[in-house]
């Protein structure tokens, strides 16, 4: 890696850590969420600098969407009163200090204990293609299964969470049209 890459890597790495620290020191739910977003965007940058441009940019893309939606739910559901007042992200301080200390120690130990493989062969020109092949080639069955499991989880969770079923919408004989919905939809189902 050239000098620019190294400098970028360090700057982004430090910024990601700073964002992580801010998550636990700021006192506003909105600021905490966007500090975490900043941290994750820096992680995306790190991945891009490590010559995985697709994964790097996709991390940025996904994390922005996810954290913005997360902000909505964090402010709506977390804390009392409702994430609008000054708050702290620290709870169960002693217990969480022990847990996080242990996890950190395990991860650092992992860095030194894992026998990292040496590079074999030449560096591929387009890593996007390699990522796609390794995900969708040999692991196609895993990906398809995972996709269905994720979709089933989402549909199942939504069905369990909603208190209205089709009999509420379409009446006892399921023949009521249009459906009796609290808010009209766009296509008049």
């Amino acid at each position: 890696m050239d000098t620019t890459g190294m400098v970028l890597l360090w700057v982004l790495g430090v910024l990601a850590l700073v964002g992580g620290v801010l998550v636990f020191t700021l006192n506003s739910m909105a600021r905490v969420t966007f500090a975490l977003l900043g941290s994750l965007v820096c992680v995306g940058g790190v991945v891009a600098v490590l010559r995985l441009p697709y994964l790097g940019v996709v991390i940025v893309l996904m994390m922005v969407m996810e954290m913005v939606i997360m902000a909505v739910f964090m402010i709506a559901y977390m804390m009392n009163p409702a994430g609008l007042m000054p708050m702290s992200m620290l709870h169960n301080k002693r217990g969480s200090l022990v847990v996080s200390g242990l996890v950190f120690a395990a991860l650092v130990a992992g860095i030194f204990l894992v026998p990292w493989p040496d590079r074999t062969g030449a560096r591929p020109r387009d890593t996007t293609f390699q990522v796609g092949m390794s995900l969708m080639g040999d692991q196609m069955l895993t990906m398809v299964t995972l996709g269905f499991v994720l979709l089933a989880t989402m549909v199942g969770a939504t069905v369990l969470a909603t208190h209205r079923g089709r009999y509420d919408r379409f009446g006892d004989d399921l023949d009521q049209r249009p459906a009796n919905d609290p808010a009209d939809g766009g296509v008049g189902r």
Binding site: A30, F34, L37, V60, V64, M67, V68, T128, V187
Partner: protein, 309 residues
């Protein structure tokens, strides 16, 4: 094929984007005048730009307990993301940065608008702004997935995420011709992420202009500029994605890019005045029940074509 990376391109690309955005705004003002039965003169077209010095000189509005850091960050993010998105858009055979993942870059920059507008709504500590910010997220959840599949359709057709490859892969037959649905969904997405016309819901009059309502001075200028810059960026991106880029008979590539971008921009400006504003709760059902399945089917067309070749 595409020339990249001369330093002056970094200056020219934002300047051109600004020029396209200004042209769109001027065309909008001209159509306004025509609809009102006023004569279209130079002053009608120039009038909206008088808001620029007015905004720069205006005294900023201060609000109690606003989160100025987040507000400022959000307001700046919208136009800056629009400018950054143009890095990967080829103009003729010039492009600032010919990234191998250009389509994803454009998409990521567009999604930054979500964060920017939510922050712009949250920052002022005012109910209507906040409603506007949340409205954009609801709208985002509706338009984003069909838009992503429209982008994926073009990328699948060219088997590349590099925007210049996509433009180059359309020799003879534009993607707009054999992927018309993806093209239409993409254009609807452009109107949606520039929250103009039918998608002006986050800044609707019913919530006192929502995200824009509490902004004043330069903040207001940046958000309004962000809207038109995004419209221009979306129109410019439509050319390499669906209209063959700079390819065309007779004229040089830059001229074809210019003509095509202006035509797309004109179509968008015309459309945004013709359609009524749609509420996000209505559009989200249309998007998920009708547009999304059709977008997936549209993506299947280039995918099957790739397999059969």
């Amino acid at each position: 094929m595409a020339e990249t990376g001369t330093w002056w391109a970094l200056l020219v690309a934002p300047a051109m984007l600004l020029g396209f955005a200004a042209a769109a705004l001027a065309a909008d003002a001209a159509l306004d005048a025509r609809n009102a039965g006023r004569p279209i003169t130079v002053s009608t077209v120039v009038r909206p730009f008088l808001a620029v010095p007015r905004a720069v000189l205006a005294q900023p509005r201060r609000l109690p307990a606003s989160d100025r850091l987040l507000w400022r960050a959000g307001v700046i993010t919208v136009p800056v993301a629009a400018v950054l998105s143009t890095l990967v858009i080829p103009f003729g055979d010039h492009v600032v940065a010919d990234l191998s993942v250009g389509v994803v870059w454009f998409n990521a920059m567009e999604v930054l608008t979500w964060a920017g507008l939510w922050l712009a709504g949250w920052g002022p500590n005012a109910a209507f702004s906040l409603v506007g910010g949340y409205r954009f997220l609801a709208q985002g959840l509706a338009y984003e997935l069909p838009l992503m599949f429209a982008l994926i359709s073009a990328a699948t057709g060219a088997q590349s995420l590099r925007v210049t490859d996509i433009a180059g892969a359309q020799h003879g037959l534009w993607y707009a011709v054999w992927m018309p649905f993806a093209f239409v969904v993409y254009l609807a997405g452009v109107l949606a992420f520039s929250f103009l016309g039918p998608f002006a819901y986050p800044a609707g009059r019913d919530v006192a202009e929502g995200v824009l309502g509490e902004t004043s001075g330069v903040d207001r200028l940046l958000l309004e500029a962000g809207r038109w810059l995004w419209l221009a960026a979306g129109a410019a991106m439509a050319v390499p994605l669906f209209l063959g880029g700079g390819a065309g008979p007779g004229l040089p590539p830059w001229a074809w890019s210019l003509v095509k971008t202006l035509l797309v921009l004109a179509a968008l400006v015309w459309t945004l005045r013709r359609l009524p504003m749609v509420r996000a709760d209505r559009y989200v059902e249309l998007a998920w029940v009708v547009l999304l399945p059709l977008s997936v089917l549209q993506t299947l067309v280039p995918a099957l074509t790739d397999l059969s070749l």
